[in-house]
């Protein structure tokens, strides 16, 4: 073993260092990167918000809009939101370069229109969600009375009870 035996070995192995910031890197299959909400598919049901372990997904009802806010600065990239989404609207992309100098850049907001209860005027759900329910019931062969559909859960119970003949005192 000579003094320079390592030199021959290093020439045989060659350069192992990746070229990353100057050339793109390869990602493994099934890599869990930045989650993204598909704004065309999202119905604002809030399943992902209930599931998110670090509360990176939050939901707020304000001014007739349901605001779903995804904050990447807290996301742990577990992918549970993608698992529970009934519409498959949220999915994990292959993006991982989330470097930013402000936290406001790390936010995705989806604002969805809500519907008012025709009795009390309270906002209780998103338009897309209601449409989805009507469609789903239709595919089961059940026609929903719009009189019932566009009431908040409280007043819906009242009307439903009246329709099937039960008497229930309305507040």
């Amino acid at each position: 073993m000579g003094r320079f035996s390592l030199l021959g070995k290093s020439r045989k192995v060659g350069v192992v260092t990746e070229k990353y910031p100057f050339k793109p890197t390869e990602l493994p299959e099934g890599f869990r990167g930045k989650p993204e909400i598909n704004v065309e598919k999202c119905i604002g049901c809030g399943a992902c918000v209930a599931e998110c372990p670090p509360n990176a997904l939050t939901m707020e009802d304000r001014d007739g809009y349901r605001v779903i806010r995804l904050f990447y600065g807290r996301c742990i990239f577990c992918g549970r939101c993608a698992d529970v989404c009934p519409e498959e609207a949220i999915s994990l992309t292959m993006e991982f370069e989330l470097t930013s100098d402000t936290l406001t850049d790390l936010v995705q907001e989806v604002k969805l229109k809500m519907v008012k209860c025709i009795v009390c005027g309270r906002y209780y759900g998103t338009e897309r969600h209601q449409r989805k329910i009507i469609e789903a019931m239709k595919s089961q062969g059940i026609e929903l009375d719009p009189e019932i559909m566009y009431r908040c859960p409280e007043h819906r119970a009242d009307t439903g009870a009246k329709l099937i003949g039960l008497r229930r005192e309305s507040k």
Binding site: P21, P54, Y65, G73, F96, L98, T99, D101, D105, Q108
Partner: protein, 153 residues
């Protein structure tokens, strides 16, 4: 943006060690952050930037503040991992402050100017993500994320 070589000090404020292992990774010959001039130093007094991990546990606050104070101006802080950025899974725990923003609140109340911060979310971030942050600090690459707001018409 720093033109010269960045000397970094690795500051763990109570992280789970995943981000710390990724930091060790970028210093190995495979990822080799020394290509970009990064050198790990043992004292915050020699450092230009802090590689900050962890959600800042309450036990750690005074030591972390002391270390940040010791870094000479202009100082930078790379908040690595979701814990450092926004508190991560510990954001509402009684035992942690929950991210660097809360720590900066304390720094401001003590009259210390908070360092310029680069956020690197990930749990843990890939070594490439940390390299991207260092390259961003050096002005080699540009920012890729942007706040997106969708409003239904």
């Amino acid at each position: 943006m720093i033109k010269k070589s960045i000397w970094v000090f690795h500051l763990n404020s109570g992280s789970c060690n995943a981000c710390d292992i990724e930091i060790l990774d970028i210093l190995t010959p495979f990822h080799d952050a020394e290509r970009l001039g990064v050198k790990l130093v043992g004292s915050p007094r020699h450092a230009d930037a802090i590689l900050f991990t962890g959600p800042v546990t309450r036990q750690n606050v005074d030591k972390v503040i002391e270390a940040i104070r010791a870094v000479p101006e202009p100082k930078y802080l790379l908040a690595i991992g979701s814990c450092a950025c926004g508190g991560g899974i510990w954001h509402d725990s009684f035992a942690t402050l929950g991210g660097v923003q809360k720590l900066y609140g304390i720094l401001k109340s003590m009259g210390i100017k908070p360092p310029k911060t680069i956020y690197v979310p990930g749990c843990p971030p890939r070594p490439e993500a940390i390299l991207h942050a260092i390259a961003y600090l050096k002005g080699i690459v540009t920012k890729k994320v942007k706040r997106t707001i969708f409003e239904e018409k």
